[in-house]
Symmetry: D2
């Protein structure tokens, strides 16, 4: 395992290919340093007594100690530990732990590469390639980006039906040494500060779409990759420095401008059925990760709501308690769904532990359909203060500070600075530059609610439920009834 300082050094050694506000930026640009703060935390916390037992594990491949963010889950306990780690780390920053992107991809590929080889009767060697990659990924304690979401063009057309065939990532050339890919991936979280760009399709594919069914990984500074960056960083604090203001997040539009991938890093090619499975498996692991990070973010929102209520003297009011109980329900139902998904998980042929599809999806969906409502609750309890309070410079100004201390008082025994700090935290959460990132990622990250519905419908035993209805109704079964998929 490496230190966060070593990680930053490695980032600096990559060839710059990230653009922002018209500039080609360095990976240790101050704005990137804020955005990657959560990633750095995943390195630092391996030595923290509160977290090391859960953050450090043993590689099933090498037997070495590894950071759990590079682990391929082998058991129910692994899945539970990943979920717990995600919840406990994420809430330290008030934003997103980010490093799940790579590891969720790695787990998906661990399964698909093996299934491809099984299907091909040993004529392919995807899984061996994957294991070589995994060894390096673990040994170097790497961060991977999940370059999954294609730009997708006309939403009513399939990849091969688009006016421009490049609107989904595709192979444009295959040669002795490897393949050349073209396309553009969006919403690439950690793109600007990752080691590897791990790529899979993002949807179901038809038999015409062999060129679109490609999985691979390349270093983030590979020739032909250009990243256009968006960073959601909090407003810097001077007078009232606070941890919430230290953590941001960045995403890239990631252009693959005829990028060469050597065969050693091609993990699937020309297999629409397994290409789609890779897409679904990444989504599945990522939705399971959400059952950890989303409760963490609700912890932050509910803790802030409770804190604001406390300093305002209203924490025992029935409506406040009722609203916080709503937040608790969201957090714990989502967390419960992740626990249940782990406990009903199954083993893939590769040995990788696969969480239950239905529980992951109902959990992720519940989070996604409640996120704006949780903001509504915090906003409701705060009143308008987080929006209209003066800037920090006024608070720091000796002319105005006495007024602000006098007039922002709430409960008489709470010091004025505590009031200001509590409301500035609320401001960062509901009225700051990171707010919309958390709202929008809360809905769409890991798949929008409608995608969870589709995943649920794809695996739910609805025919079994109709059988129950027929049994109660006295309708005899006939050979014509449809069957559930599994």
């Amino acid at each position: 395992m490496i230190t966060s300082q070593e990680f930053v050094e490695r980032m600096k050694s990559l060839k710059p290919n990230c653009y922002m506000h018209g500039e080609l930026i360095q990976r240790d640009d101050p704005r990137m340093m804020v955005a990657m703060k959560d990633i750095l935390m995943t390195y630092d916390m391996v030595d923290d007594p509160r977290f090391k037992d859960i953050l450090v594990t043993t590689s099933h491949l090498t037997g070495n100690k590894i950071n759990r963010f590079t682990n391929v889950h082998q058991s129910v306990e692994d899945l539970l530990a990943k979920q717990k780690m995600t919840r406990e780390l994420s809430r330290l920053s008030g934003t997103c732990i980010q490093r799940c992107m790579g590891i969720d991809m790695v787990n998906a590929l661990s399964i698909v590469t093996k299934e491809a080889d099984d299907k091909n009767g040993g004529k392919t060697e995807y899984h061996e390639r994957f294991k070589a990659f995994l060894k390096e990924f673990q040994d170097k304690d790497m961060v991977g980006a999940a370059a999954q979401t294609d730009v997708k063009g006309d939403r009513m057309l399939r990849p091969h039906e688009q006016a421009d065939p490049d609107l989904y990532m595709r192979v444009v050339e295959r040669n002795a040494k490897g393949i050349v890919v073209r396309g553009c991936k969006v919403h690439t979280t950690v793109g600007p500060y990752c080691d590897e760009m791990i790529v899979t399709p993002c949807r179901s594919l038809t038999k015409e779409e062999g060129d679109y069914s490609v999985c691979f990984s390349v270093p983030a500074d590979t020739k032909g990759i250009h990243m256009l960056i968006e960073a959601a960083n909090p407003t810097a604090r001077k007078a009232l420095p606070a941890e919430v203001a230290n953590h941001g997040i960045a995403h890239s539009v990631t252009i693959f401008d005829d990028v060469f991938v050597p065969w050693e890093r091609v993990f699937l090619d020309n297999d629409p059925q397994l290409g789609a499975r890779a897409a679904l498996l990444f989504a599945l692991y990522h939705r399971h990760s959400y059952t950890g990070c989303k409760p963490a973010y609700t912890d932050v929102l509910m803790g802030t709501t409770a804190l604001i209520a406390e300093v305002s003297g209203i924490e025992k009011q029935q409506h406040v308690r009722h609203k916080i109980a709503e937040m608790i329900s969201v957090a714990e139902l989502v967390y419960a769904s992740g626990i249940a998904a782990a406990h009903t998980s199954t083993k893939a042929s590769s040995g990788t532990q696969v969480p239950d599809v239905v529980f992951c999806n109902v959990g992720r969906k519940h989070a996604g359909t409640n996120i704006y409502h949780e903001y509504d609750i915090l906003c409701d309890i705060c009143g308008g203060q987080p929006q209209t309070m003066p800037y920090e410079e006024e608070y720091a100004d000796p002319r105005w500070r006495p007024y602000l201390d006098k007039y922002f008082m709430r409960k008489a025994d709470v010091p004025p600075e505590t009031i200001h700090r509590a409301f500035r935290l609320a401001q960062d959460l509901i009225a700051g530059p990171v707010t919309s990132n958390m709202q929008i990622a809360g809905v769409h990250g890991g798949g929008s609610p409608i995608m969870e519905d589709i995943a649920i419908w794809g695996s739910y035993p609805i025919e079994e439920k109709k059988k129950i209805a027929r049994h109660l109704a006295g309708i005899p079964e006939t050979p014509k009834e449809p069957k559930d998929k599994k």
Copy 2:
């Protein structure tokens, strides 16, 4: 284990003390036979290959084979098996499995009796009494009613503050042989066809309320017990007999008119703190049972919705799929919460396995706040047919049947009888004599949503969540901060 026929015989042997529509009724009155059908099923199914592995277990006390509905849970697996059994049996009838009442009480008492003895330094013998009772309960394969909910009088007053002290069950005499109790319990499901009436308090109690903190069990026909019955039975079917029409449910207002309880069956007396704990523990076990039965009932509602959609030709419509996905989410989030509660369960000093409070309560609450919405969905997909269709006699009448067959057609390849059966099932569910029972029990059974909020607030680590907020806000902790309860 006994057979259902033996159970009915035992019921007939009890002294009649149940009144309904102005009559003193027998326990095998035809209306009671319909109401107790689910109970009978719990006896019959021990021989059914689909259920016997989960329904039969081994007593930790005697080592004998017992019906799981008399088991004191000893492990995570026991809790999971109870939850699964509850879901799988409940959905066979389209109503409520009923027999959870007694076993949830028994589990609560297994803990409280031991804790009382521990607290009293061995000066009491509640747990030994309990074990003797449990042995009989298991050996005789008994059904217990949970006579818990007091009539409660003025909701703003505590038990000892009421104008009439009998508005909560209380001890009015203690003598050498036992105690005499007076009061009235309501909503006593299975009251009219149970072996034992198991009694605990239903709320928190203060030190003035020693007489109210009593737990005991007596045979259901004990002198002084009078039951006034309400039965929710489906409309009988002649032309189109169906399983849904075979199952009802009954409740009693249970008057304890100075009932004598021998000391052997007194499981707690004069201990407000543990009396309240008994109340909470029964609620906890019962809410865990709800994480099994409520998903079962959603299975029935969603299966019927899917069936109606199928015969109407609309099952692939997006809005239908979206609405069924909402039902799936309710069922599986509630089920997940029960799984999570089992997996994070702890052991009481008695050895009984205690499910997690927060997961049980968020699960039960989610069910309770969604039940009317689920009816709304089924109603929405059905249209008005379940309300306004002619009576079965018209369907059976050769003059009208051809018209009803002709005009109730939907998809051309679905036989008309299937259509009629499907809509009559929907009618039984949303527009029949059992409907309101399932709606109201869906909200209040095992505790209303507001009671779950109270339970959640009583055990949730909200101070820990405020700490997260303070950490992010840069507010230093001081010795003054409140602490979480545990």
Copy 3:
């Protein structure tokens, strides 16, 4: 105007053609007398000083005094008076005023008959026929049923595509004297006790569907009409008689078995476009009626909730007030939408006043999507009592009444009979034989929420809203942009 007694006599004079539970019943069968109680009220109340000013108006056709339930609305004030009358009468019974069915049909036909004549350049005489019919309808103070909803067969097929062409009402013969129609209408409220069966199509129609685009009216006992009845009547009261127990409702499946309609009563034939308009106009008037009756029913539900809270001593609790405020919001937003629809109404070529489509539909939809939630609230505040309380016979029994008086006490100063009456009212509302009728009609009556969405989409200026977006985005308009329909 006639008296209610005269109306009953007229009903008795009709040829019996209603079947129920295997019997051919009389129109003054005791079960029908309960069901038609609301209709009788509309006759009786013309002499009641509280209602006569709003219930009696002047015919624009004859200048005679008429019951407003036979009026063709001529002004904003007429629409407002109709809405107000509907709210004020409906809440006297706790169920549905029923007589809106006919008058909403009459208003729709007043418009369509004129538009047909206009369109046909005076070659048809539909409007004259209509006026002759209207004169009789008003003079005889008639009750009309709206036989609108066809059985509809396969929901994915249009009328002319069905396997059986009779699954929508159609003309099977046209001759010198009139037409012969065949089909079956469902959900015919007041069918069993109306004077006239008024018929229109229930949906959009294509040019192939001329035979389906027929509007007419015939006496309810016309040869070939058979009604199969369903009645939702409350449980009769003996010990605690109450107004709520006096009012029910009945519906029929109405079979038109080759019914002859003379040309004088044919109001449209062979005009799919205006046939569809008749369907929409009836729906529009009926949804406007819902903006009166639905708030009335919420008045009943909220009044009961407040009464239960009062007698239980919890009426000032914050959660109770919050929940009642939710009910108030539903009632008054729906009522406001009807006022707004009246104030933005327009005049048809016939002179009839047409309420605004969007306001009527958002109002009706808001009611329909909240009805189950309102039941949830009343259920929540009541607790389980309305379901499990003993039957009235036990309350009347001198042996049990003292117990029931003692133990059902709540606030000490509320007499026990008041408690029993309040909870029996709640029982009739949420757990009685009429409950499902009000729930299901609450969703579907006048059109299901999805039908309101379709109506809204059919007339909302969404292109204008996109223009606003383009203006803000700086996107120039081009001639290609779609236009709003009107």
Copy 4:
């Protein structure tokens, strides 16, 4: 009436007393010019043929032509015109029209000053003072800020119970020439660019709180007034200029540091009952204004949703239509409530038209409880693009623009710039610097949902609703029943 340029000149002539980011700023600071853009629009549009008929009216006081934003409403039509004007102007900017603040205050004061004089038997001259003020306000075409919300300290204590008596605005001195006031008002929208600071209490007051029951108006640069500013301005556009990016909003924390108010501008003093009435009346007028501006903002959100759906090729998808129909329902139910409030309005003794309390409050509350949900819908349909798209500089860069044009394509016939413009509009709405202002003001502006509940409870005839319940239940009325307030 003046021009917008004259208004800006007048602003420049005021003494600077606004502080922001540590600076004393000018009122025509570029950041203020963006924030006041909506105010300027209210001057400019009096000449716009689309708006002049509704924006220009005649003073009832002077008979002069005035801007309706200075009008005291005299009729139903005035209230409807104000509501319509507010909707039509607000949606031109995608933010808040702002100028309602002053006029809602002026209308409230027109009533209270008269009622005070009436109550005092003509011994006070508040209404004459008010009329003199109104004349100037109209003649000079002024903008007023509503300095209403006090800082409020401990939320469980009344004004006179606070540790610091200044936590609500109060009179600290009364002398021959006027009064001296001290306190701090927050959320003062338009504070930094208004002519007059109009002040009322913000809550109910007790008899001890005479010093707190003061209403007055002073010029915004009066000695002792200090404003600490917060501005929510959109990100400036260079490459893709757009109207949405031209409009922001600013608020102040407004400190009254012993400010002298001459008697001519004191509109109420030492009258807690009428002080509270002023608070309620301002809230009432402001909530009526919300029934105009809130539908306008929903117009913007729904138009953008429809535009995004159109360019993505999904506008006919059922789920998209369903979600936009939800937005339509919110917009039109809220608008309907304002129409209903106008049509059921009454006249105050001053002649001012007062909208109905219940309709205004259910409307405002419906808006407030749905605002986050509307964002959720727009976010849902957009996907993650509005958050993660590259900055405008990359779009302007000839190196990247071809890639961005190629890869952001959706429907093949929509030009790439249109796609970029549409998503940048969505970004400004859901992920920009103004987003949180619209979310938080959407909940709290004009009063939080809980305040509307309180207002509804204060005037709703709940006892009448209980009477309906008693009538249905057969419970006789007794003289003890409580009465509704009016």
